[in-house]
Each structure stands twice: as structure tokens, then as C-alpha cells.
């Protein structure tokens, strides 16, 4: 759901640093050009503004207005009168439990995904950055991280569903029944493996630019100064990569927290996590007194997402210091 694209992921950092790099030069260039071609700029300006209008209207109607509506409906009742009752629904034990489940699933898959993903990034440094294998891994990571959704749920139904290939294989060959203690696959624990299946690739996409930003010169400098490889790891690699790692961890948490499609395809009954609570609130919109609970849930979710993404972008800024 979140972040960068494929190969663009690698170039984003460069692009942004290039962009930031010319930030210092920009004011002077802008002022000099306004001195130089002042009159013609004035003449062209209306046309240039007109060019932005269609985009602005589109974004207004399909991004800004929906955002405000989604967050605003939490504060009005069914008749449009302002109320805080919907927000009180956020204190409902069922909803609190949904937020807790969401947080637990997100935390477990974010930490596990970040660790495995970091190992994959370390492995990727042994491949040519522009080679065919690397391209294939990049493309596969993007597919799984961003476009899987429902299809990843099917993949795991075919693998460890009740009739899944691995489930049957384990029973036939090893005599192990995955579901001896009840079918947990269509419950919250069943989300862990499918979620990991998109979290690890997302980690690869977001963390790889930082790993490829490690300069060989740094390890040479450590070696020249008489340091060991262990010291290079502990004193250089870990401090340089730490902000990127923690930032990616936050992004992974946010990604799992807001992911809907996989859970919706797996769990058709009940609303154990927040996105499924929103589904339930939207579908049962006519239930008396719960008209705008979806809005309150959306607000709660956006608050969590905003905190996570702010942390991510602050850490990202620190990370880019080493990528120039």
C-alpha cells in the first residue's frame, strides 16, 4: 500500500537528495530569472495557473473533500448536528480490542518483516545492482508489497488453508495437523503469515536504498585506521543504518495497520481488526445510533497513521544525510 515504486525506490533517494541539494541554489536562480525575464513571466503567469486548475479540482474533489468528510463525519450525528457521541464509540470494549489486535498484528509482522527484510537487503549487496536477478527480485518485491492484497489471501488459502497443499502434505507425510486445536487460519493469527508475505518485500524496497548508500570507502577508512570488521559493523554500519531501519519499521507497522484487502478476503465474519470494524460500520450504516462510527474509526486510524508517518519522515531525513 505504502511507498515507492520498484526501481524508482533506488532513485528516489538520489532524486530527493539532488532536489534538496539544489534547494540552496534555487532562490538565487529564481530571483535572477525574475530579474531577467520579468515582463514575459508576468504575461505567462495566468496561463501557467490555468494549467494547474484541472489537477487542483480533481485532487480537491477526490482527495481533500473525501479526507475531510471521512474525518468530519465522526463529529456529527445522523441528522448532521455536531456531537461527540461517535468518538465515545472509540472507547467501546470491542473497538478497543480491535485496535489492540491491529496493533499486535502490525507490531509482530513489522518486527519480523523488518529483520528478515534487512537480511534480504544484506544478501542483495552480493548481486549486481543493475543485473537481471536483481531486477527480478525488485519486481517481485513490488508485486508482493503493493499489489497482492486479495491474491495473497488466496495464495495462503491454497498453502495452509484447510484444503491447502502444505496442510495436506503435513497430514499425509508427517502426520501433523496444523488445525488440531481448531482452525486459527481464518482468525487474527491467520493474518500473520500472509501479512509477512507483503511486509518483508516492503522492507526490501524501503531499506535497500540505505544499504546501497553504505560506502566501501568507509570500511576502507576503518581498515586503514587499524579497525576490525567488527568495529566497522558496530561503529559505522549500525549507526548509519539505524535511522533507516527504525523508519522502515514504522512504515511497515503503518502498512499492516491500514491494510484491508488481505484481511477482508480471509476473515468474512466478524471484525477483529480496525479496518474490518470500518467495513462493519459502513455496511451496517443504518443501525440506529451507529451511523457515523465509521468516521470516528477513520479518525482514530488517521491519528495513528499520522504519528507513524511523521516519525518515518523525520527518520528518513536523517537517513538521507548519508546518501548524498
Amino acid at each position: 500500500m505504502v511507498t515507492t515504486s520498484t526501481r524508482a525506490a533506488d532513485t528516489t533517494a538520489d532524486a530527493r537528495s539532488a532536489h534538496e541539494g539544489d534547494g540552496g541554489g534555487q532562490p538565487t536562480r529564481a530571483s535572477s530569472s525574475s530579474d531577467g525575464v520579468g515582463p514575459s513571466r508576468g504575461r505567462r503567469r495566468p496561463a501557467a495557473w490555468w494549467g494547474l486548475t484541472p489537477f487542483a479540482l480533481w485532487v480537491l474533489a477526490f482527495l481533500i473533500v473525501p479526507c475531510l468528510l471521512a474525518l468530519g463525519t465522526g463529529f456529527v450525528d445522523g441528522d448532521g448536528a455536531p456531537t461527540l457521541d461517535n468518538l465515545a464509540a472509540l472507547g467501546d470494549p470491542l473497538i478497543v480490542r480491535a485496535f489492540a489486535s491491529s496493533a499486535a498484528v502490525s507490531a509482530v509482522t513489522a518486527v519480523a518483516g523488518a529483520v528478515v527484510g534487512a537480511v534480504v537487503c544484506w544478501g542483495l549487496t552480493s548481486l549486481r545492482p543493475d543485473g537481471a536477478v536483481r531486477s527480478a527480485i525488485d519486481a517481485a518485491s513490488s508485486v508482493l508489497a503493493q499489489f497482492g492484497g486479495v491474491m495473497l489471501a488466496f495464495a495462503f488459502i491454497a498453502t495452509i488453508g484447510i484444503q491447502g497443499v502444505v496442510t495436506r502434505l503435513l497430514i499425509d507425510v508427517a502426520g501433523v495437523d496444523l488445525y488440531a486445536d481448531g482452525v486459527w487460519f481464518y482468525q487474527v493469527p491467520g493474518l500473520l503469515l500472509p501479512y509477512l508475505y507483503f511486509q518483508v518485500p516492503l522492507m526490501v524496497i524501503t531499506f535497500m536504498p540505505a544499504v546501497s548508500g553504505l560506502r566501501p570507502q568507509w570500511s576502507e577508512a576503518v581498515a586503514t585506521l587499524g579497525g576490525t570488521r567488527w568495529q566497522h559493523l558496530v561503529r559505522v554500519v549500525v549507526p548509519v543504518l539505524a535511522p533507516a531501519f527504525v523508519g522502515s519499521l514504522l512504515l511497515l507497522f503503518a502498512n499492516a495497520f491500514s491494510s484491508y484487502a488481505t484481511a477482508a478476503a480471509l476473515i468474512s465474519q466478524g471484525a477483529q481488526i480496525v479496518p474490518l470494524q470500518i467495513r462493519a460500520a459502513l455496511i451496517s450504516e443504518t443501525v440506529l445510533g451507529r451511523e457515523n462510527v465509521a468516521g470516528a474509526l477513520a479518525l482514530g486510524m488517521v491519528v495513528v497513521m499520522a504519528v507513524l508517518m511523521t516519525g518515518y519522515s523525520l527518520l528518513q531525513r536523517r537517513t538521507e544525510r548519508w546518501q548524498r
Partner: protein, 283 residues
């Protein structure tokens, strides 16, 4: 060997043993990640009585006798393809000119534009759909409830991906100098756009279009909660009666998305090898 020396200079310091360990890690994780895909293939090849393997489920998909059963699926595929094309056009016709204009004429708006384009990361589809429901009740009154209308929302959800794809090209090209040169030589603005801007940004435009197509083909949240039919909602519906068909189509669409993204990656890699003097190289 030559691959290592040209591609990864750092591996010379890490040594051969490090390379073996790193590649082993890749192979282990890769094998684990191949399990669900392999399971999907094996699942789809199960014979009807569940004992052996055959191609019957694959043949059933293309069997004209099942046309009625898969009618919903055909509608979903058609809608998704239409939505993918319309969304890609929206991105190219609305977002790209706005980005170019801001880049060339309103450098002060670069930050606000970036902020707006990245909003859909913080406001995920499941939240956006809460606000889209009332918007679409207006849209369907004004423009009808044609399947294509959903593309207006899909275009917004792909803004972060498309923005980054185009932005990386925009930052690497000195478009300001190029367009000023074209204008000085007497080219009109439309001509400059067609002959200078679009060719300079072709890799970014291609990447943005392909990513849009891939994201739209995989979209489920908005379509499902607005009660629209697209590929993913149709897959979920079919999976209830015929899980094999759902798994087969999921495999096909994953493969299709993989090919799309592989093309973007290769185009990017080839483009990066092209020795053009970027701004970064100059600074």
C-alpha cells in the same frame, strides 16, 4: 567474477566467504517465498477427485460451457482493464502537466504539491473510502454510475507512486534549460511539451503509467466497499463457489503485474546506464 568487480566494488573488501553467506541468505528466503506460489500452482492442478493432478481447472476457465458461471469474472476483468487505462490517462493528463508546470514556473509550490501527492500514504484506502461514499453518491447523479467513474478515485490513490516515478526523472533532467532553449529557438509551448518535455521524461511517464495499471488491477478496498465490480471483488466472489478459478486468476494477475514491474525495472536500469550528464553529476 566480472559481475562482481563491475557491479559491487564493496564485495572485494567483504571477501568470497561473505558473498557466499549473502547469496545463501537470499536463496533461503527466496525458497520460503516460493512456497505459497508453488502451492497455488499445485492447488490449481489438483484433479476433481482430489487424488492426482491434471489441467482440468485451467481448461474449465476457457471452456465456453462455463461462460455463465464466470460472467461476473469477465465483467470484473473488463472493468479493471478499463479502470487501469482511464486511471493511467488521468495521471498522465492531470498530474504530469501539473508537476511540469510547478517545476518550471512555480518552484514555491514544489513542497505543497509533494505533500498533497503523498497524502494517500497517510490516509489509506480504507479511510478514504469512508469519505468517498458520499462523494460517489453525487458523482453517480452527475456522471452516471459507469464503471469508469471509479478511476477518478483510483487516480488519487496512485498519486504517491506516480509522483515519485515522475519526480525522479524530473530531478535528473535539467528541464528548465531545455525548455528555455526550445522557447528561445521559437518553439511554441505545445510543441515544446510534445518534443522536449515528454521525450525527456519518457522513462518516468512509462513507469508512472505501468505502476498505475498494476495498482489499479490489484485494487480491492474501494471497489468492494462502494459495491462496484472489479477484478478483485469478482475474484473474492468466485472463490466462494470455485476456489480453483480464483487461484488460477490470482496467479495470472500476479504474473502480469510482475512482468509490468520487471519492464519498468529494466527500462530504469538501461536508462541509468545511459551516460547523460545529470544535475547530480554536475554538482
Amino acid at each position: 567474477m566480472s559481475a562482481r568487480t563491475t557491479g559491487a566494488p564493496r564485495s572485494t573488501t567483504a571477501g568470497g566467504a561473505g558473498t557466499v553467506a549473502r547469496r545463501t541468505a537470499l536463496v533461503v528466503v527466496g525458497a520460503l517465498f516460493a512456497v505459497p506460489i508453488a502451492a497455488m500452482v499445485a492447488f490449481s492442478l489438483r484433479s476433481a477427485d482430489g487424488t492426482g493432478h491434471d489441467l482440468n481447472h485451467w481448461l474449465a476457465i476457457v471452456d465456453p460451457e462455463n461462460e455463465r458461471m464466470y460472467r461476473n469474472l469477465v465483467e470484473g476483468v473488463t472493468n479493471s482493464l478499463l479502470l487501469a487505462v482511464v486511471s493511467a490517462l488521468l495521471v498522465l493528463v492531470l498530474l504530469v502537466p501539473a508537476m511540469v508546470l510547478v517545476h518550471l514556473r512555480h518552484p514555491r509550490l514544489v513542497r505543497p504539491l509533494e505533500f498533497v501527492c503523498l497524502v494517500p500514504i497517510t490516509v489509506p484506502a480504507i479511510v478514504l473510502v469512508v469519505g468517498l461514499a458520499p462523494v460517489y453518491s453525487v458523482v453517480s447523479r452527475v456522471a452516471g454510475s459507469g464503471a469508469w467513474t471509479l478511476a477518478l478515485a483510483y487516480g488519487v490513490t496512485v498519486l504517491p507512486y506516480a509522483y515519485r516515478a515522475v519526480q525522479s526523472d524530473l530531478a535528473a533532467t535539467d528541464l528548465r534549460t531545455l525548455t528555455e532553449a526550445a522557447r528561445t529557438l521559437g518553439s511554441s509551448w505545445p510543441r515544446t511539451m510534445a518534443l522536449v518535455v515528454v521525450p525527456s521524461l519518457r522513462r518516468g511517464l512509462l513507469a508512472a503509467a505501468f505502476i498505475t495499471v498494476a495498482v489499479v488491477l490489484g485494487e480491492f478496498t474501494i471497489a468492494s466497499l462502494l459495491n462496484r465490480v472489479n477484478l478483485q471483488t469478482a475474484l473474492v466472489q468466485v472463490s466462494r463457489s470455485d476456489p480453483y478459478a480464483a487461484v488460477i486468476l490470482a496467479l495470472i494477475s500476479l504474473a502480469f503485474a510482475f512482468v509490468l514491474l520487471l519492464v519498468i525495472g529494466r527500462v530504469g536500469a538501461l536508462g541509468a546506464a545511459r551516460p547523460i550528464p545529470t544535475r547530480k553529476a554536475l554538482s
